[in-house]
């Protein structure tokens, strides 16, 4: 494909057919936070009723926008929670400032718990 500046190249996530190692299937139990992220996605897409605040396509788009080195480092639900957050910012449901404050609050709560 021509490397025209008006065209996008292969996206990082679109790796079908590229050399890779063996796929080793493994079962694992889900952590509580992973179940919460899954539940949040069901709620935000209105899958289990209620208002639809985003689409699964927005989830995919924002997962696929994660920088390659971060994408590789993150596991499945880390990508999901990153993408859900990005989508809520894009939709105007939360602001970066609110997110920063909340994250700081959570971090200090965790520190307090550690000191107790």
């Amino acid at each position: 494909m021509d490397n025209d500046s008006t065209e996008a190249g292969r996206s990082y996530h679109d790796m079908g057919g590229l050399p890779a190692g063996r796929v080793v299937p493994e079962e694992h139990d889900y952590a509580a936070w992973e179940r919460r992220v899954d539940a949040m996605m069901m709620l935000l897409t209105g899958t289990s009723g209620g208002k639809r605040r985003m689409s699964v396509d927005e989830l995919r788009k924002n997962i696929e926008s994660i920088a390659p080195e971060t994408y590789d480092r993150m596991d499945y639900y880390e990508r999901w929670v990153t993408s859900l957050t990005q989508t809520m910012l894009q939709r105007g449901h939360i602001t970066t400032d609110e997110l920063t404050r909340k994250m700081a609050e959570v971090a200090s709560r965790k520190q307090d718990a550690g000191n107790a």
């Binding site: 292969r10 079908g16 057919g17 985003m54 396509d57 927005e58």
Partner: protein, 103 residues
């Protein structure tokens, strides 16, 4: 997303058995057509129905009008130059109509 959605769909251009080529394009945006299949020729296996366009849904739009989605059959050895399996092995991929051109 609006609460009431005006439902409409694009008419189907292809029927099972039609030969098609996947567009060899690389536009910006949220594209679902895998990179490795772009530019390849295949045969329509079935019409799956018409669905809201994910290229639109990804940007918080309605995805209307719905785009016909086809299951297209390709020969493995035409996709992968080093393919060592049987000559008649196929791969089937679901592709939206606006990514297909007639042959």
């Amino acid at each position: 997303m609006p609460e009431t959605l005006e439902r409409s769909e694009v008419a189907a251009r292809f029927a099972p058995g039609d030969r098609v080529r996947v567009l060899k394009a690389a536009p910006l945006g949220h594209v679902r057509t895998p990179w490795y299949i772009r530019g390849h020729e295949g045969v329509v296996e079935r019409l799956c129905g018409a669905f809201p366009n994910p290229e639109e849904l990804a940007y918080a739009r309605t995805g209307e009008p719905r785009q016909p989605l086809y299951r297209v059959r390709f020969l493995q050895n035409q996709i992968w130059p080093e393919y060592a399996g049987r000559e008649d092995d196929v791969i089937e991929i679901e592709i939206f109509q606006h990514w297909l051109e007639p042959l």
